[in-house]
Symmetry: C2
Subunit: 173 residues, 2 copies
């Protein structure tokens, strides 16, 4: 299919790269390559994280909350929201589920009656090693196909993308 031989002279096949943004893309193949790449990586990473977390009985994002609590100790929900980058409403429910699961306890702050302090329970310590193992497995899954140099490059690239996105998000255009 797709005519293997055509004598036509100009073919923008492999790399025109200098996409002038006005000329129509040759095919619809490459309109937004970066978006597609990010979407696919994000989806696969989320899927794999979900599969690994399932074994330890956590849902995606709950592990981030627990890791933050284990690392930094008891703190306000707002602090967790800032860390997760999520919103307060989501955090309220996530915390409630973690509380019901017995991994987290909540107590009101004495100094500021608006805030509730969230802290990891002793029972949660049993989880900690498992979650850290999951985290390392996930990291390994990403990096095992890459040379150390490629890994370093990847981090740089991701940081660069993050900066771009952060700027665009704050601007809100």
């Amino acid at each position: 299919m797709s005519q293997p031989e055509n004598p036509d002279a100009r073919r923008p096949t492999t790399a025109d790269t200098t996409g002038p943004a006005n000329v129509r893309m040759p095919d619809s193949v490459e309109a937004g390559a970066m978006n597609h790449a990010i979407f696919r990586v994000a989806r696969l990473h989320r899927m794999l994280a979900g599969q690994l977390l399932r074994r330890v009985g956590l849902h995606p994002s709950q592990e981030l909350v627990m890791m933050q609590l284990w690392d930094r100790g008891p703190q306000r929900q707002t602090d967790l929201v800032r860390f997760l980058g999520s919103d307060a409403a989501t955090m309220t429910r996530t915390i409630r589920r973690l509380e019901n699961a017995g991994f987290v306890r909540r107590r009101p702050s004495t100094t500021d009656k608006r805030v509730t302090i969230v802290e990891p329970t002793a029972a949660s310590n049993a989880l900690r090693n498992e979650v850290e193992q999951v985290w390392m497995d996930l990291e390994t899954s990403v990096t095992e196909g890459m040379t150390p140099a490629q890994q370093a490059e990847a981090i740089e690239v991701l940081d660069l993308i993050e900066k771009s996105l952060a700027r665009a998000t704050s601007q809100d255009i």
Copy 2:
């Protein structure tokens, strides 16, 4: 920065690269740098996409369905599932919402009574340019802080990560 002159012979400062995987990480700073980087990029990208899509009245992921339909024409839900990489249950509901919004129509296949064919409506064509504009804005937001060389590098790195993740996901470990 980074001490232009130092007489010391071996310094693993910038690129020791050969990360031995056994030695403990010096701080807890760098345990899962790749994971964190991917999470942050994924979150920001999703957030920005959501903000942009909101203006055209679509929810995240609906635009991917519509783009697939515009590009490839009427097709079965299973094909859309394969494209989105999501699952059939999610697709059923997404399609229903797009149908209620008037962007999509469903008709039963005559040859296979199990399948329903999904096709974009004429009304959806009004959306198409807007969605493509959103898609380009999103792409621009990611790439505008990067040189063309960095963009090419980013695509390579993301493809590499995707391959690693795809392998890990299929293995299911």
